[in-house]
Point group: C2
Chain length 766, copies 2
């Protein structure tokens, strides 16, 4: 353990020197030295080392109230604030409309592409019934799938790797205060939208709902800033909102609008945003988020109603529409729900374990973009092949009249005329339609073995698919597995099948499974999204009565699942090494104080500091600090950020200069806003030798009232302050107001591993 | 203005001397010197003066992390924390069950009593059809009503005045951090439950839903403390939870369980609690609150299903059950919703203005308990008389078969045989049944004039009833007015009546009206409960599709209503002078700093302080501080509360004593918990002259790490810190860590009037 630990440290040292690409290669080499088993045991340690790396910046969710800011605020009258408030509402409306339109676009294009694909394949299957022709159909199907997926994987792997997956983990990190690079850029949105269209049209076991949340967030970040840095277009509006605090509020609204568009669940969207992002509940903000969600659902609904030639009928609120359920449950079924929840928990744990090992495998061997594209194509081809085989070998034929007209692509397969293959309904369809069919088809539509095979195959397919380098969500697959499993359960227990609760059970199975899978899908470590998931499911089904059973199933599944393996996202977050702050400090952490937690010594600046000193400190890659306490003699008098210093250096706001050229323009808040959020690196700023001797007066630019804590403050207290206010730096001072340390996100996130005991805490200290 | 202001100040000076009853008389005398108009213009000033009075204490929602506490936490292992967590879940389950049972009890008793009453009156009416007999029936009805209401008003006015009204304002204040005396006591619960039964059975225009929220909160406060001080019974369990922080969490859960039981809306309950109470969203807490809500709905449902002999059919989730709606709305109706919302806003504003003047009248003239009881009886008698007159003069007869069997008390009235009076369905019924009838009866059940009269009369009755000294809610009356108005609207616009949206409109009118009324009902000043109200309405109707229209209507009503008069509760809160903290500091308050806001000079103690000094400071009624910074020389080193000092004095924890008797028991956290929450007044503690010369060492008991801010911190920043962490005292320090002031809730609440400009702020400073 000790030598391994040393090796890790040695290996991780490289990341302190800012050589990120090189480090990555080293890291991968280093990982390949271990067996998967050894590797797993080292993850915790690696995580701690990684958290200390500077790969993730934090966001400032606390306003920097320096003189410039306060002056501006004091100049503003009551009316200006009202105008700002109106702008906020307008922006939220825009976010809702744009998110809704994007959802429409994805929905329509996917339907069109999938329609073309299924019609072509269906024609081929219907035409060629002998074995040779079958092969042609199969190859056609697999090739079409692979082609779609290839396009999707290529744009993700080569152009914007951050667009992989559902994007929910990234948005959660953003709202939590971690700056994930490039996560809310226009390019990411483009890749995400095209990627999700390709992967769904490519027949993968994925959903298009998750990526909507990411899309909504990007839209929000773009609209609220009134400019696009990628397009080099600045509309000169909404300049007031160009800071992390305001931007986060809009991104929350965007994420909510995304959820709302995806599931037709505006309240669920609001809850999602609040659970993930807003640790401080502000009533006006909540109301705006709700507004954005409502507008988003409404836009989607309205545009789709026009598209479906039923203008004005607002009956399809979300991308996924489960149809309406009108069954009631009986109190005697409650134990049944609990049993289903427990089984769901077990299945979810199995899924997690499998995906965990798969992820480790991918980290070790599938890290090149080419390999990633190939893996995605392989999965697409295998999905087609397996589906084809399932339909081929299935003998579950159903008379054609029982099928609803909405499920278009009915395959006769190898059934008699006037019949269709039940397996094809499940496999030869977009996942959303399969879910609807599984929820609503009358009893007897599916045979036991059909459902069994489908559940089993789809379980492994979904597990394999999650983590591919494509842009896609896992909510629908998990719901699909759940629905199939629920039906299976209903058929297996004849006494349940006899009463109408079979559908309820079916739905509930979906719920619990969705939960288990969503544990990593919706990411968030300890945050398990249970409340918002319940609300989303209730809203998506349009039936309030299911609240209690859904909650029961979700709770049971959670308890059972947690017993075996933690939420998969907990593992993923460790692998990604995001310094994610959970809700509370670990329960047993009262014995730690700020003194033990903080980073020290701290680099401080004098209020009037030599330019040379500042440049040297900022250029020092081995420390790479982002916040610097400002002192008079020894007492703390303010806090200044790297980004502010860089703007100051760029504009050469030096005391000597100001004296020589009296007419020099005074630096405005606008200059900082224009530079936000992509501040140039220190290396790009040239400071001459003369200028190095100048002085810089930080008084106006520093935050003169940073939050401070005494050094004896307990970790939970520090944590609460940090988390509740969304801080980035918290200064630790002694009784005479001297700076003795600085607490940052990374110092607190380290201790979140301490859940299993205090060992990791000691390790983190060495 | 100036002389009036002086007079106010003079008059209010009395409250600084702790002579509260005397002050009250003076205050009322003082008020009677003004006309209502003058009075209204003085309210703002009076409010500021009152806030500075010490009539309301604050609660400590920040843990007091002194040595004793930290020692205990550090001793506790992982398992202890897990046990605590399980206890929390058990308590939440208990809260849910008990709240559900109370709801059942109220429901069943009200139904029984109202049933008996209506049967007796119906018999009398059916028997006596000539004018003389009519009078007897009328007198019988009025007498029965008055008798019920008298009982209800007497117990409220004489035994527990805090139980008047719905109790939601009080719970909101409690969750906000204001200690409203006696609000969560067992006695209050008893009076509340009996009071609400009497007032609903007494036929007042009130609902039984609001008081459920208060009841749930009292149950939660009782269960979580594991003892009842009123009953002098201590179960010696849950001692860990005997502090404000933990208690608040449970009270949130209780309030949510109350909402959930009242409306069958568990998610709405959670949102209500979060909107009102939890400024810091904690995921586990939310989950527990949701659990309590679910259990509460479930218990109510289950017990009622047994009572109604339909064991196991969980179809009536709340006290109020609107039945199911299955209409869809069309996009073309959206402008209609907005119009309805606007009219609702106007009506709501009218209601508010009327009730505002009525409240002023009541404060001036109806302040004795006897008068209050008489007014309540008068309202009861008038309600009966008006109802009777309406039925008598109404000629709206409907054939009996159109009526549903569930609406039992159909009155033939003056209709032909085989017919019943439509007016009687609305008036001769409990409000819940009337609402259901108005929502669901087929078109044509009510005539235009019937609805018009009903709306008008009920509007004024409800307005008069609100603010009586009875225990009752205003949600159902407002819903009833809204429902009647919606139907009226539907009939008046024939083209709307032609399509099925009449019901939707009807419901929406209810929504907006409920909102307008709930603005003061659900209290909360700026907090307008819009999100949770939407969710409650959606859940109560069991139909998710209504989300958007409800939100639109609520928003329009809010905007229109705000234009004319602020939410009525804003006025009520001013009259009650509660130092309620809103979400944010006023927008234009950046020009104020902690230095201007804080109270100073501050009474500080030395870390080792003379007992005599402490006793003198605590006994000084003119200052009556609750928190005292502790200093070494001049530097801040801690903060100690009055309640802690009193416990220390009571146990005579003096340094000299400790030396003389070495075996003296060391003071434990348990001693503080046993004294919580009713700490004795300083006057009850006898300290001898010798003891006055002793010293007291505060080191172990003070909070060694109080939150501090520099004196230049802007008001919004101070406010955010204070509000986000639920602080009670915030120490303002200078650069050398010397105490220069103390910010308390009252210092911040003062500035909340500054919404209309900065005038009040200056006034508050003089």
């Amino acid at each position: 353990g000790s030598s391994a630990s040393k090796q890790i440290k040695k290996s991780f040292k490289s990341c302190f020197h800012g050589t990120k690409p090189g480090f990555r290669v080293n890291f991968e080499k280093f990982l390949s030295d271990f067996t998967p088993h050894e590797f797993a045991s080292l993850i915790i340690k690696a995580h701690i080392a990684l958290i200390s790396c500077r790969s993730f910046q934090s966001l400032d969710y606390d306003n920097i109230e320096n003189h410039l800011f306060l002056e501006e605020e004091r100049r503003m009258g009551h009316m200006s604030f009202r105008c700002l408030e109106i702008s906020r509402w307008v922006i939220c409306g825009l976010i809702g409309v744009l998110t809704g339109l994007i959802a429409c676009f994805i929905d329509i294009v996917v339907e069109k592409l999938a329609g073309v694909k299924y019609v072509v394949v269906k024609k081929s299957i219907d035409k060629n019934t002998e074995i040779g022709g079958m092969c042609i159909s199969l190859i056609l199907w697999a090739a079409l799938n692979s082609a779609f997926v290839m396009v999707g994987a290529i744009i993700v792997a080569f152009f914007e790797p951050i667009a992989a997956g559902s994007g929910i983990p990234q948005i959660k990190c953003y709202l939590n205060g971690v700056k994930v690079p490039r996560v809310v850029r226009l390019k990411t949105l483009m890749v995400k939208v095209c990627g999700v269209i390709c992967s769904v049209a490519g027949g993968l076991a994925v959903g298009k709902e998750g990526p909507m949340i990411h899309s909504g967030a990007v839209v929000a970040a773009g609209v609220s800033q009134g400019r696009s840095t990628s397009l080099k277009k600045d509309f000169k509006i909404f300049e007031y909102f160009r800071r992390d605090t305001e931007k986060r509020d809009f991104v929350s609204a965007g994420a909510a609008a995304g959820v709302s568009a995806a599931f037709g669940a505006p309240v669920g969207g609001v809850l999602f945003s609040l659970e993930e992002g807003a640790s401080f509940w502000n009533q006006l903000l909540t109301w705006r988020i709700f507004f954005a969600s409502m507008i988003s659902t409404f836009t989607l609904n309205f545009v789709l109603s026009i598209y479906h030639k039923k203008t004005g009928e607002l009956s399809s609120p979300g991308l996924i529409n489960f149809g309406s359920f009108d069954l009631k449950y009986n109190i005697y079924e409650i134990p049944l729900f609990i049993v289903m929840g427990a089984i769901g928990g077990l299945l979810g744990a199995l899924f997690n374990v499998l995906n965990y090992w798969l992820t480790i495998f991918r980290i070790r061997y599938v890290h090149r973009p080419c390999l990633q594209v190939m893996e995605a194509m392989l999965v697409a081809a295998v999905t087609a092949t397996v589906s084809f085989a399932m339909i081929y070998f299935s003998n579950d034929c159903q008379p054609l009249e029982t099928q609803k007209s909405s499920e278009d692509y009915s395959l006769q397969g190898f059934c008699a005329d006037g019949e269709y293959s039940a397996m094809a309904t499940a496999f030869f369809n977009t996942p959303e339609r399969s879910v609807r069919s599984l929820f609503h088809s009358p009893a007897g539509t599916y045979k036991l073995e059909t459902l069994g095979c489908f559940t089993l195959v789809y379980f492994f397919l979904a597990c394999w698919t999650y983590g591919l380098t494509v842009s896609a969500g896992v909510f629908i697959p998990s719901l699909l597995i759940g629905a199939a499993w629920g039906r299976l359960f209903g058929i297996m227990l004849p006494y349940i099948a006899l009463n109408p609760s079979v559908k309820v059970s079916c739905f509930l199975a979906a719920g619990k499974d969705a939960y288990q899978h969503s544990r990593f899908y919706f990411a968030g470590g300890i945050v398990r999204m249970t409340l918002s998931l319940t609300v989303i499911l209730v809203e998506a089904t349009g039936n309030v009565t299911y609240g209690l059973p859904i909650m029961l199933v979700l709770m049971t599944a959670k308890i059972v699942g947690d017993y075996f393996i933690e939420g998969l996202y907990d593992v993923h977050i460790k692998l990604q090494s995001v310094p994610f702050l959970h809700w509370d400090a670990p329960a047993t952490s009262h014995s730690l104080t700020a003194r033990e937690v903080m980073s020290s010594p701290v680099t401080c600046f004098n209020r009037v500091e030599k330019v040379g000193t500042i440049v040297d400190v900022l250029s020092n890659t081995s420390t790479n600090h982002n916040g610097f306490p400002v002192i008079i003699q020894t007492a703390l008098c303010g806090l200044i950020l790297r980004s502010q210093l860089i703007v100051l250096l760029k504009h050469k706001v030096f005391v000597e200069r100001a004296r020589s050229r009296l007419r020099q323009r005074k630096l405005q808040l606008k200059d900082f806003r224009d530079a936000y959020p992509r501040f140039p690196p220190i290396q790009s700023i040239h400071v001459s030798q003369d200028e190095r001797e100048c002085m810089m007066d930080l008084t106006e630019f520093m935050n003169p009232t940073p939050y401070t804590v005494p050094q004896d403050t307990s970790l939970p207290r520090v944590f609460k302050l940090f988390r509740a206010l969304g801080l980035r730096h918290l200064v630790v001072v002694d009784d005479d107001n001297r700076v003795i340390g600085l607490v940052t996100r990374k110092d607190l996130a380290r201790y979140h591993l301490g859940k299993h005991g205090l060992e990791e805490l000691h390790l983190a200290h060495t």
